[in-house]
Symmetry: C2
Subunit: 334 residues, 2 copies
């Protein structure tokens, strides 16, 4: 089942979307918003599944689905917690600034509590007031949970995963060092994130969902050029069950909590840092990573951060080359 | 105007509460929840004010208001961002561990993004799975905002303050050092916070609300003994307008965002760290602070963190000795 929220008021209007993303059906008679559906999932999900079946059979009124009319599936959420599951990425960040990666980072997930009061739709421009802030994309996988009890283990956490999607976790790189130095995490350096037009239930992914990981290629284009073709199922040190259990260690989680994987990042086939696509590598899911590799290789970064007018595309394809979650496609705006 | 949410479902049921907190009137015909009221404040607030006037005149159906039946005014929220406006507190934390306070801390607010997906009511027990986590209270002032535009200055931020209340920002002190060392802020070390039964509009506070600060004494009792009698209007380096503007530097804030002051903390009259109430001082708003002072004075902390069965009371009185926001009154549960 694929779900989206058409732009409408603060929380959007829930629709069920066809597998090929061409059509959608109003679902507000079942639940007005995606949050309302998640709040009452056991009762609502079977009704939404029936609607999705009817939509597939074209036996109900349907509308064209336009990704540009989609808000973030949860236009605002009660929780957005982003892990750093691809420890390769974290190791590169550290290495670029000459710092060691603590051994514990391979066993204890790094995670931050992000702002969740307002998200961007997949086609919304990235509002950037000041280019000097060093705006970066971060392409990631996300899941949305049901209610999770405090102390839940990995298996219970996996069972609580309701939906899977993509995020562009916009970051302001030049504001990060000062905030990290204060030790209290990110406040100003993580503005609103953008989400894929569509979130899908794990069963929709078939063998592309395994052990709490999305086993699919994550595509990132920057200004129309291939920038990242990483494999989300590889090098993910912590699966989503482990990330959710980490967050739930000391408190319960409310239905509709969004948990992120952190920037998807692969090592090169030789075990070293990943190469650019132009050099036969898989490329990157954020600009910071190519800048780190440039720094490691040549002493200084070359690729600039995002400027006004730059464009970003993020998507994941099914076996037939069709985007599963739709496409995040944003231009940096003033 | 005083507002509360009676326990009912995930988001409570909005009521208007009388000035003396003895009575309340159902407000769900105006807005079903406090979040719904905040989402449409300009239209809804005047109607709630009329209801409050009718309640004061006893010309509408009214119910007894029982604080134990109150959920957090926002049982879950889209944002909870907690500042550290009382820099005296931060300086003591640092001094106790032998660290310098960076000069910038006096001009650049420290703030963290907290979990907002589930809050405790004022009488709910503090769920503590493991006493070894080092459970502490933190008594603070909070405000709830309307929508705030990205880049809003202090004055616009002050205008956006809709409600004022109290929080017990529960902290797990023994989990904090490891999380701070990771640099990404608090995830496991800040479980669900508890809020005062009632939030009030700033006009309700009269001269007790000045320049974005609550100019009132904050009372904290620990196990039935006076523990803190600090002055919230003193030593607050950053007022709420400044804190909100800090958070809104790079992104807009959604109506219903809760912003905290951080632990209220006063210097002693002689300029040094505050003394315990038993020694004629104003005491403390968290256990960590008295432990720091014990460490500075005698080399080691003496006061233990909270154990199962310990009790905490937090309130602020009006000129007649009546609690303005009701009382947070919690027992540590298993």
């Amino acid at each position: 089942m694929k779900l989206a929220s058409l732009k409408d008021g603060r929380d959007g209007r829930l629709v069920v979307v066809s597998g090929d993303l061409a059509w959608c059906a109003d679902a507000t008679h079942i639940a007005p918003t995606l949050q309302a559906a998640l709040d009452d999932w056991d009762r609502v999900a079977p009704q939404l599944e029936l609607l999705a079946t009817d939509l597939a059979h074209e036996v109900i009124p349907m509308m064209r689905f336009h990704e540009r009319q989609a808000a973030a599936p949860l236009p605002r959420a009660y929780q957005w917690a982003d892990g750093s599951a691809y420890v390769n990425h974290v190791e590169l960040v550290r290495r670029a600034r000459g710092a060691e990666l603590p051994e514990s980072f391979w066993t204890d997930p790094l995670m931050y509590q992000g702002g969740s009061d307002g998200f961007l739709g997949a086609r919304d421009p990235i509002p950037l007031a000041d280019e000097a802030w060093g705006c970066d994309l971060e392409a990631e996988i996300v899941v949305v949970t049901g209610d999770v009890a405090q102390g839940a283990g990995r298996d219970a956490a996996l069972d609580a995963i309701r939906l899977v999607g993509l995020v562009n976790d916009v970051s302001l790189r030049n504001l990060i060092p000062a905030e990290l130095a204060k030790g209290f995490g990110f406040v100003q350096s993580k503005p609103a994130s953008a989400f894929s037009p569509v979130f899908v239930t794990p069963d929709e992914l078939g063998p592309g969902w395994q052990d709490g990981k999305l086993v699919r290629r994550l595509h990132v284009d920057l200004n129309g050029q291939p920038f990242g073709r990483t494999e989300a199922g590889e090098d993910m040190t912590f699966d989503f069950g482990t990330l959710i259990a980490h967050l739930a260690k000391t408190r319960s989680l409310c239905a509709g909590s969004i948990i992120g994987s952190g920037t998807v990042s692969n090592r090169d086939a030789d075990g070293g840092p990943g190469k650019p696509i132009a050099q036969g590598g898989r490329g990157y899911s954020c600009i910071a990573e190519v800048r780190m590799i440039e720094t490691i290789l040549s002493g200084a970064p070359v690729t600039p951060f995002l400027k006004h007018g730059d464009s970003v595309r993020i998507w994941v394809e099914d076996d037939h080359g069709h985007p599963i979650f739709g496409t995040i496609e944003q231009v940096v705006g003033g």
